[in-house]
């Protein structure tokens, strides 16, 4: 975390609290970087994880698909006070913009959002009789994600629906930091079952959690 600079664009994993790297969010708060742009599906829940970071007012802008939730009161208050900028991106477009960044794609046409206010000001085009919108990659300085287990090479496996944005965000950032339950010996992860290969992961941090009757 020590080298995260002010003004960075940071991807934060999770769908609500499932897959939210809450311990690393606490570390980012302690580290003190400010003027951040955050990319995450939601705009924080309750007062932990991403919501705790937002509460420090060190986030200038957030890109997400679904900011408003029953427990997003930290974000809601900042937004209504004009203290944070919001870019709403359809969820599938958010994912694909991240994938494009990770996969070296310059831009892509998607049918999602065509003919809606979210396509205003964007290039559109008809392909085979159907309308598409041009969307650009979201490249980030850092991705902070949560996985279940890692090994020393950074190979990752996830747990249930906590996988969500982890794999695609890991690809899309210059530096990916994964919070994991456990770091295991090389060879302990089944090579056929590794979800994120270590090439996409730069740092792993073991933060053991209460056992959940591992399945």
């Amino acid at each position: 975390m020590a080298d995260i600079r002010d003004g960075s664009t940071i991807l934060v994993g999770g769908f609500g609290n499932a897959g939210m790297p809450a311990r690393l969010m606490d570390a980012l708060i302690a580290q003190g970087a400010r003027d951040l742009t955050i990319v995450s599906n939601n705009a924080g829940n309750g007062e932990t994880g991403l919501a705790a970071l937002l509460k420090t007012k060190r986030v200038r802008k957030i890109l997400c698909s679904f900011p408003r939730q029953t427990d997003s009161y930290v974000f809601d208050a900042l937004y209504r006070a004009g203290e944070i900028a919001l870019e709403v991106v359809p969820q599938g477009t958010l994912v694909e913009r991240l994938r494009a960044a990770g996969a070296g794609i310059g831009a892509f046409y998607t049918p999602t959002g065509h003919g809606t206010i979210l396509a205003e000001g964007k290039e559109s085009r008809t392909i085979d009789g159907r309308g598409y919108v041009l969307e650009y990659p979201i490249r980030a300085d850092v991705a902070i994600i949560k996985a279940f287990k890692a090994d020393r090479w950074g190979n990752l496996v996830y747990r249930k629906t906590a996988r969500n944005f982890g794999p695609v965000m890991a690809m899309a950032a210059a530096c990916t930091i994964a919070q994991v339950n456990e770091i295991v010996e090389l060879g302990a992860l089944d090579p056929e079952a590794i979800v994120t290969p270590g090439i996409f992961v730069h740092r792993v941090v073991a933060c053991p959690e209460r056992s959940r009757g591992v399945a």
């Binding site: 769908f15 609500g16 609290n17 499932a18 897959g19 829940n45 698909s65 679904f66 900011p67 408003r68 939730q69 809601d76 937004y79 209504r80 919001l86 709403v88 991106v89 359809p90 969820q91 599938g92 477009t93 994912v95 694909e96 994938r99 998607t110 049918p111 999602t112 959002g113 065509h114 003919g115 809606t116 206010i117 979210l118 996830y158 747990r159 249930k160 629906t161 906590a162 996988r163 969500n164 944005f165 982890g166 794999p167 695609v168 979800v195 959940r212």
Partner: protein, 214 residues
């Protein structure tokens, strides 16, 4: 003559009746979620949840909730035997790429040509949130809408042209309300089903012109 509106559960059961065995189905948050309770237990119907699972089962027993196993509404769910987990790239490829057979969504308004408005009222003090609604609306093979026929103020929700911001244009194929089931066809609205005791003319009065009675 008094018409009895379908209850929310009766609406859900009516939708469930139209879902064939083998279908991959995504149920939206709110009213559509009820459809899951009415799907026949003896048929294989695969429920998809945008946050990365196929084969979604019912809510777990109290005390069995797993914070790593939730649905699109972030509520705890279960996985049926044979179910699968995957990441968001795959999940939205399923949605946008035409692999989901049926999605059932709630709506603020649907136009007679199938335009859908269900994500944002456009009022200045509301915080816009779109989630996966636009991806489902453009990508599912069949988009069904499930909603009350009228707003709380008694205004029709089936309109000539949506006044709320669109989720997607010309995407809805069928509408289930508490008064009727209507198909959207190139010729206009087509009546599939109507609540007992409601005269066709009364339905048209709160719907607009219905081109055809099936």
């Amino acid at each position: 003559m008094t018409a009895v509106r379908w209850t929310r559960d009766e609406m859900a059961a009516r939708v469930a009746r139209d879902i064939p065995e083998g279908a991959y189905v995504n149920l939206g948050i709110g009213l559509p979620t009820l459809v899951a309770n009415h799907l026949p237990k003896d048929k294989d119907i695969f429920l998809h949840s945008e946050n990365g699972l196929l084969g979604m089962g019912p809510a777990p027993a109290p005390g069995q909730e797993d914070p790593d196993l939730t649905n699109a509404g972030k509520q705890p769910v279960t996985l049926v035997t044979g179910g699968a987990f995957f990441d968001h790239t795959d999940s939205f490829a399923m949605m946008r790429g035409g692999h989901i057979d049926i999605c059932v969504l709630g709506a603020f308004q649907v136009s007679v040509t199938g335009d859908l408005a269900n994500w944002h009222t456009g009022e200045p003090d509301t915080i816009p949130a779109v989630g996966g609604a636009m991806d489902l609306a453009v990508g599912a093979k069949h988009v069904y809408v499930m909603m009350e026929h009228l707003t709380k103020k008694g205004e029709p929700k089936i309109v000539r042209q949506c006044t709320y911001p669109l989720t997607a244009a010309r995407c809805v194929s069928r509408i289930y309300t508490d008064l009727a089931v209507l198909d959207i066809t190139p010729e206009g609205l087509s009546l599939v089903d109507i609540v007992h005791g409601l005269p066709f003319e009364d339905l048209e009065r709160c719907t607009g012109r219905i081109a055809r009675r099936q």
